[in-house]
């Protein structure tokens, strides 16, 4: 499809779907609902906030309650009935949705607000043709052209987009794309060349599996004091992370009305594990950092068969103290040698 047809594509989609796509606002790329005359920004590295917020919002009203004449009235939150198209999702972020599904839609438990939106949404991916140096999807089981979680994959080849339907949901969107045609041989070649260049560009050498194994052995090491030393516990990494999913549930009440709200929480906050007794099992930054790294790269592998990191690099870019998770992974992976060697003078 020619780039010029994007606007028409979106207008066509908007007849049946709510279209959510990246837009530029205040020098940020953010996912937002497109109005009837809006166009998305489809040339960007990645959005500031991951698309998880569409299914698992920053703050979500679960239900409203109201005390009326001695009785409590509960009103469940409205869910949008119009199906949605989430467009411009990078493969790392699309893969994060597949990972989040393992948390919010398990055999035993289905999170209603999340699953409803997931069922109602078609994910249109945008292949990564120009990964950043902070991208390392290749080290964590991802790829700039990965298909996981994507219903319709678009690839920018300069003058137009390749449109590949990967699922039935994706196929339903193709008729809305105006003036599509089969790609020419040159275009296919170009796509192949872009693909291999992008695949070569992402970091693939991070020793993530080694780190996962080592994490079993270094729980008590002083190593964690050094790793956590510069962490300020600000929470940016967890909020910008596509797979972080911890939340808090609180009631916001005014007079006799209120809402029960689910909102993002972060394991790096001291309050996260503070118990009513006043005891805090993770009372220092060291314990919280250790937990965070173990959760991301060890516990989730055990529980969900995958590290909960898609290599998007947002935490690397936005950590205020440049605490680089890639360095942490390397340090964890090389720590094994110290732990297994006989005790010597420190190097």
């Amino acid at each position: 499809m020619d780039k010029g047809s994007i606007s028409d594509f979106i207008r066509n989609l908007q007849k049946q779907y709510t279209v959510v796509a990246p837009v530029r606002r205040r020098d940020l790329i953010l996912f937002d609902e497109l109005g009837s005359s809006d166009t998305p920004t489809l040339e960007f590295a990645n959005s500031k906030l991951p698309p998880k917020g569409f299914f698992f919002p920053r703050s979500e009203t679960l239900f409203r309650f109201s005390a009326k004449s001695g009785k409590m009235e509960l009103t469940p939150a409205q869910t949008k009935s119009k199906p949605a198209v989430l467009m411009g999702v990078r493969p790392c972020d699309a893969r994060s949705l597949v990972l989040l599904d393992k948390v919010f839609m398990t055999e035993k438990y289905t999170d209603t607000p999340y699953s409803r939106k997931r069922a109602n949404t078609t994910v249109v991916g945008m292949a990564c043709t120009d990964p950043r140096t902070t991208c390392f999807c290749g080290s964590v089981g991802g790829d700039p052209f990965d298909a996981s979680g994507i219903d319709l994959l678009m690839t920018d080849v300069g003058h137009g987009y390749f449109m590949e339907a990967l699922t039935q949901k994706g196929e339903k969107l193709l008729p809305h794309a105006p003036k599509t045609r089969s790609p020419t041989r040159e275009e296919l070649q170009k796509q192949g060349w872009i693909k291999s260049k992008a695949r070569a560009a992402v970091e693939r050498e991070l020793p993530v599996e080694q780190a996962e194994t080592n994490l079993e052995n270094i729980y008590e090491d002083d190593f964690w004091d050094r790793v956590a030393a510069k962490c300020l516990g600000c929470g940016v990494c967890t909020y910008l992370c596509p797979t972080c999913h911890c939340f808090d549930i609180t009631d916001d009440i005014l007079d006799s009305n209120g809402v029960r709200v689910r909102s993002w929480d972060s394991c790096v906050y001291p309050l996260f594990t503070l118990q009513a007794s006043g005891h805090n099992p993770r009372k220092s930054g060291k314990e919280r950092m250790r937990q965070r790294v173990m959760h991301k790269f060890n516990y989730t592998v055990k529980n969900n068969d995958a590290a909960f990191c898609v290599g998007c690099g947002r935490c690397v870019q936005d950590c205020p103290v440049n605490l680089d998770i890639r360095e942490v992974i390397k340090a964890v992976a090389s720590q094994r040698r110290a732990a297994l060697q006989p005790k010597e003078a420190p190097t």
Binding site: R132, C234, V316
Partner: protein, 318 residues
């Protein structure tokens, strides 16, 4: 370059003589123009220390809850923040050795991102008063001042004021005037109508995700229980209501009145590009205008909001 060597030498001596257990400084980071905190415990660690416009963290934040004798390689704003913390009894002053030198300012990476329209910078070298940027298919040399933080351009105290009997000043500075008018953006905003200002702040804070980065990077925000985290009563709700965002920011700013040194770390830390400084700098300016507040500049002087004068303005009181 030369100041950097002097700082490293001073840190080496400090650690060799065991005058401190630890020195907090910056070292090279993993991203262009972003240094990262380092914790030096051995004289050999001093090799890693850098002192240049990439040192954008306010290291005084690491003095929170810290025990033992510590050295802090500090720019003037970090030194002032540390002195405010000491004055507020966060640690004994004699446990802190400040190592400092005149500062030429710190790079605001957001200004870089804006200038290059999001194109990735692969490498950046600061050479004198220029930065040489290298991207995938471009290279540009631009003036350093174009990318310094607003707080640095407006800085009235680039030369640190230290205690010679405790601290180490590795180089004297000559007086240098700020290149940008004090609180320039705030003054511009003050000229607008209340309705325009309200729209501005609603728009700015619409994207606040409540991550608390602005609070955590601030050395002055060290309360073990922040009002925003209290649950009985719950002052700041979590429903995402726009008013809760503003309540948090307004009250945090007010709690910093007379204590904020305008280091700019809050604005640098915000992942959503909110210029938090539009509130904190306003507070700093007003505290200075009304009460001659200049936190961290005079050891032993009472903080502006911890004291009073008979002559304090009260024309606003009925």
């Amino acid at each position: 370059m030369i100041i950097q060597d002097k700082i490293r030498e001073a840190v080496r001596s400090l650690l060799r003589e065991k005058r401190v257990d630890l020195v907090i400084a910056h070292e090279m980071g993993t991203l262009p123009l972003r240094a990262t905190p380092c914790f030096a415990t051995e004289p050999g660690d001093a090799e890693r220390i850098v002192w240049d416009p990439s040192c954008s963290v306010n290291l005084a934040a690491f003095l929170q809850n810290r025990k033992g004798k510590v050295g802090l390689v500090a720019k003037s704003c970090e030194a002032r923040a540390a002195l405010v913390m000491a004055a507020e009894h966060q640690f004994p002053r004699e446990n802190l050795v400040i190592l400092s030198a005149p500062c030429q300012g710190v790079v605001d990476v957001k200004k870089v991102q804006r200038r290059f329209g999001g194109r990735e910078i692969l490498a950046a070298k600061i050479e004198g008063d220029k930065i040489i940027f290298k991207g995938k298919d471009f290279q540009e040399s631009l003036p350093l001042t174009q990318f310094l933080c607003d707080s640095c351009l407006e800085c009235r105290h680039p030369n640190p004021v230290l205690n010679p009997s405790r601290d180490v000043l590795v180089e004297e500075g000559s007086p240098v005037a700020p290149t940008q008018a004090d609180a320039a953006k705030i003054i511009e905003l003050e000229k607008k109508t209340p309705d325009e200002r309200w729209s501005y702040f609603v728009d700015q804070f619409k994207d606040c995700i409540g991550c608390n980065a602005c609070r955590e990077v601030c050395p002055i925000c060290y309360c073990n229980e922040c009002f925003a985290d209290q649950t009985a009563p719950r002052w700041v709700g979590k429903s995402g209501d726009a008013s809760d965002v503003l309540v948090f920011h307004l009250v945090r700013t007010l709690h910093m009145a007379g204590r904020c040194v305008d280091c700019g770390a809050c604005s640098r830390a915000c992942p959503m590009n909110i210029d938090v400084r539009m509130l904190t700098k306003k507070m700093e300016k007003d505290a200075r205008e009304l009460f001659a507040a200049d936190p961290g500049m005079k050891e032993g002087e009472a903080e502006a909001l911890a004291t009073f004068s008979e002559k304090d303005p009260q024309e606003f009181i009925m």
